[in-house]
Assembly symmetry: C2
Homo-oligomer: 492 residues x 2
């Protein structure tokens, strides 16, 4: 079988692009920086969305939908926000086209110019807080716990499929609270929802932490994050949860009357994850032969491939056993497919389902049936087992669970091996170049040092881990006093 992917060891970045394109997750589009999410990629995102949505609802949130467009003036109402977001936005200036009188197709109608330009939302704090002003008058209207599933646009100069695209899909939660404490508790709760989702469903261990001032969301008082490690030793921010203080309430004048009839500004949070998670999933687990998908998110969990027999009687048995297995597995709520297409060879099918990351493959031929066994191959380790037909379905259900756990444990082991405590600058630089991963080092707490380190090594402070141990030390770069280690890495 010809190799269809570049090997990770040869060119990790090319391997990733090959894999996303060839496994049918996504495709480039005619619009610079925008991708087409193909059915296999969209099915993965749907499974993520459904599971997250369930968890949002279990924690009391409701979905709503706010406009795609934001009046330009809204973006400048919150001082820090404008710096962070007003820059790279798609701007709508006109609302009509007309036929080119010179016959050159259609042209923008110069008479249909908007009085105020509209910005395609890069995030929705401004339009949402402008709405909340009408919805919140009293403590009885709080907390307001709303989420939206939407597309957003940030005009990126350098894009990568899933990881950084001009348009992407995401959810953004926007909540309003009566007290600072309640808003902070919400911020932390949603971070934990993201973290447990990543670990339990994506089989992706994450560090829960808080960002430094430099890396904070534009308009937040604190940005909490989950950070994951990819197989090339680069970190990837997989989700953020922001405590916004009263910044947006002040910018949009959202006050409420409390139980004592006093007025105060409302406290806010926002939190989001995006289709970037699909990229993280691919980069964390897959191998040189294709995707490796965790069973809980795999659109297809099991594929059954019958080996055709020439003898009609033997063939009838193969058909019967594979059909029975299909039915039994469906009864166990397994997402399973029987691929009995006679026009493609089993070998071709094996490679195809490996490429697509199907966790379990069952192959069954006449000789297997005569021996009362089936060949079961697991995608994560590529191990094959001969399993008795008597308890095949139970074995597969258990195997899916084992694969989910094994994938998490493998990723956790990788992260443990690639998280190194470093106390000297030479070692810091050496680790980043030679065995990259998370570098746990002391930092003097200043933005100047943080920026200097980034300039010299391209590593950023990914986060200050929550529940970090306090420890006296000296900054790995400046030698100044430090009270705790932080996590550095190069990142996507």
């Amino acid at each position: 079988m010809a190799k269809i992917l570049t090997n990770r060891a040869d060119d990790y970045s090319q391997w990733y692009n090959d894999l996303v394109l060839k496994s049918g997750l996504a495709d480039y589009s005619a619009v610079k920086g925008c991708m087409v999410i193909k059915p296999h990629g969209y099915a993965l995102w749907e499974h993520m969305r459904d599971e997250l949505d369930k968890r949002f609802k279990e924690t009391g949130h409701q979905n709503a939908y706010f406009p795609l467009f934001i009046p330009k003036s809204f973006l400048s109402k919150e001082a820090a926000h404008v710096e962070g977001f007003a820059k790279e936005c798609a701007v709508v200036t006109h609302y009509r086209l007309k036929n080119d009188p010179n016959g050159g197709g259609v042209i923008v109608d110069p008479e249909a110019k908007l009085e105020e330009e509209l910005i395609v939302r890069p995030t929705s704090e401004t339009i949402i807080w402008n709405t909340y002003k009408d919805w919140i008058q009293s403590y009885r209207d709080l907390p307001l716990l709303i989420n939206q599933w939407a597309n957003v646009v940030r005009w990126e100069m350098r894009t990568r499929l899933f990881l950084r695209t001009t348009e992407f899909l995401w959810q953004e939660g926007h909540t309003a609270h009566a007290t600072r404490e309640e808003a902070i508790a919400e911020t932390k709760q949603m971070l934990e929802v993201y973290a447990t989702f990543a670990e339990e469903f994506m089989a992706l261990p994450v560090v829960r932490g808080v960002k430094t001032a430099n890396e904070r969301f534009a308009g937040a008082e604190d940005t909490y994050c989950i950070e994951a490690l990819m197989q090339d030793g680069k970190a990837l921010q997989a989700g953020t949860s922001h405590f916004l203080g009263q910044n947006f309430a002040k910018a949009f004048d959202v006050k409420f009357q409390d139980k004592s009839n006093n007025y105060d500004y409302v406290w806010a949070t926002s939190w989001g994850v995006s289709t970037r998670l699909v990229g993280a999933l691919v980069m964390a687990h897959s191998d040189d032969d294709g995707l490796i998908l965790p069973p809980k998110l795999a659109p297809l969990q099991v594929v059954i491939v019958p080996m055709f027999a020439k003898d009609p009687e033997a063939q009838a048995k193969v058909t019967q056993v594979t059909q029975d297995l299909l039915k039994t597995l469906k009864g166990h709520n397994v997402r399973v497919k029987l691929d009995d297409d006679e026009n493609t060879r089993p070998g071709w099918k094996f490679a195809e389902y490996e490429l697509k990351g199907v966790p379990v493959r069952v192959a069954l031929g006449a000789r297997d049936i005569a021996n009362n066994v089936a060949e079961v191959a697991r995608r994560d380790t590529k191990e094959k087992s001969s399993v008795s037909l008597d308890n095949l379905a139970d074995y597969i259900v258990q195997l899916l669970d084992d694969i989910q756990k094994n994938m998490f444990q493998r990723a956790l082991n990788f992260r443990t091996e690639h998280t190194v405590k470093v106390d000297t600058w030479d070692e810091f630089v050496k680790i980043l170049d030679e065995t990259p991963g998370f570098v746990s080092a002391h930092w003097d707490g200043t933005s100047e040092t943080e920026e200097k380190i980034k300039e010299l090594t391209k590593a950023t402070i990914r986060c200050i881990p929550l529940n970090n141990e306090l420890e006296e030390g000296v900054c790995v770069y400046s030698g100044k006093a430090s009270g705790q280690r932080v996590l550095f890495a190069r990142a996507y």
Copy 2:
């Protein structure tokens, strides 16, 4: 209780706006023509989406996602399409803002002008067929059965909540086929998916039909539609399914190699329904006290309202019985809520849940329990029944089913009463003014007559019903020969 809605008889249009706003379905936004879909409205849409999505998948379709933006030049590639869609579009001309050097907030950076303007999709045929060109080479790649859930923008001058908004949410299916026959069969199949969804889930009887050339989708060879009748006698187009012939394949040069190694252009369909369905649901069923939602789509199907007792022992019984009922109904997969908020009176709750359209309300107090009964009120007819506690849950489950059926039957009766065969012009005009509804009349088949009738009466041909009886007659307007009746109405 003060009336909170305008009565339908006084001002149907104002009643609709009042209802949408006050029942919490939607709100106006800061962006002209765009609305905010509030949690109650979005929950309705989610139920519609989930049910439709299931039916799309059962008929072999997969979801994908294509870019929000379409290069301007794409819109002019299909001759008819450009006439229909290039006109009222949001146009992105720039990709960056910058701080106003004069301190006036942010301004559009004149240096960040796009070489080719991008159009916010009004529909996605062009960008999708440009992509299909890369995906389709051979008959083995067909049929390609793809759907996308997305937001679209059409710059409307006059907007109405849900019914006609500048941005709206919808799904658009785009399929590619090897033969004309298969594409036509797909077009009809999806129309039937829409029709059965509308009738079974929305309790909304629809006429299945085909549009006249005048009312056809821009770029289609045939547009099939489902048409529903609202309580004011106006029709509403609830969904369309288009047979696109080879028009888009030719415009984007999408050919395939058939089994005999010949090349031909691919045959296409597209089909969509939108958040407009929420407006149709409201207008078809609701009354002067609020929404009436069909149980299959109601976010909340049953509300339990306990009547508080002063005696602690009696109160404990009320709590126990209502909690038990809550649990039992949840066990029956009923979407149920126990509203035991002590700060609002039962009367206030009754009005609130009526406004929101909850199909069944159960009220339970100490005296009811002493009599071993509960008071069950159904929203559709407002009938109240005293029901034994012994079979209360079973009664409610059956009642939900009855309400669903009753709502459909009521809407069907209304439509039957408001569908009138008319043979003279005077009668035609009179019916439309005095007892509006569907008018079944002969038409001479010309666009001129169709336009003249529209000009004179504001009525359009909603459709030529499928399986229409052929019948010799003369056009109600021109007196020319006609072979069948068509359905006229004023429409949303």
